[in-house]
Symmetry: C2
Subunit: 189 residues, 2 copies
């Protein structure tokens, strides 16, 4: 049960966005700019992988499931890449550059000062650009916010994999600025 009376039955961060629209607007605009809008070189799926991985490190079930589902739909595969990244980025079928960016994301998750020049140099040696380094750090930092917000208020986080898949398909297609849809069961997302 959520720590406060959210006066709605949406899951995860959606319940908080409906409760407090004043802060929801910039938080949605930020995730849209970071993850969905066109990027010079990182695909939306690659950026969603960073968000998913950090959410797993923070053990946030809702964020990890929804961004994992969005990543799956963005990457156009059956979800194997997402699961392999969550199991072990080092052995996942992703580029060496992405592996280096995920290492930096994990450092950010454990504390900003843990990102060392050697981490940056490794990523550069694998082809990472300044904007990619910037965005990997910001995405990781931002999910340290979203994850804490969702868990810190004890929001409802369903176990239904199909629900996350449907929400993920919508967000992969539409981005983050459209209203969440109601599902046929009467549950709302």
């Amino acid at each position: 049960m959520p720590h406060i009376n959210l006066t709605n039955e949406y899951p995860g961060i959606r319940s908080l966005f409906i409760y407090r629209p004043e802060t929801a607007a910039p938080m949605n605009a930020l995730v849209q700019a970071m993850l969905h809008n066109p990027h010079p070189s990182l695909s939306a799926g690659e950026r969603e992988l960073i968000a998913t991985y950090v959410s797993r490190l923070n053990t946030c079930k809702y964020c990890c499931n929804i961004h994992g589902a969005i990543a799956k739909h963005q990457l156009g595969n059956n979800g194997d890449i997402v699961q392999q990244v969550l199991s072990d980025p080092e052995t996942a079928p992703i580029s060496s550059k992405m592996k280096a960016l995920l290492k930096i994301a994990a450092k950010v998750q454990s504390g900003g000062k843990n990102v060392l020049p050697a981490d940056i140099e490794l990523a550069r040696s694998e082809g990472a650009t300044d904007i990619e380094l910037h965005d990997a750090v910001l995405i990781a930092a931002a999910f340290c916010m979203y994850n804490r917000y969702v868990d810190g208020l004890a929001t409802w986080q369903p176990d239904d994999a199909e629900l996350y898949d449907k929400m993920g398909e919508q967000r992969a297609r539409e981005g983050y600025l459209t209203p969440p849809f109601k599902v046929a069961t009467g549950d709302s997302q």
Copy 2:
């Protein structure tokens, strides 16, 4: 030296906002909504105290100094309250409700799931409302992002207390949506 070439000499998060205006806009809008805009019951100074305290827990010099300076100007005192909160919130001259909200903020900083029903009940027994609990959690979560962003890219964080005081006075008066000013020394903020 910053991890990437920011192409400007502004300090802390300002250098990142100039480097990446696409994400700066929602990040500035969020901090304005959380900390500066009118609130049903928490003063701007009280909200800045939460931001300052979490920034100290995350050992982010730039954010702790600038929000400490803003809090000082918002609270209309000589800065003693800010320093006392940073030393030990329990003995600082703030309300029991603020002490309970700062405890929750510290829990959020260490991880969202660490906020327990007992923490919420304690704050409620001291008079905290749902919106206050929500905003304390969100402010703490958001500074886990801002702090990691500033430190994760190794931005320039000056030691000059007078500089932070000037920047803090401006932000306390104008909020977060006006451009940073240039100082007479040629340093930029």
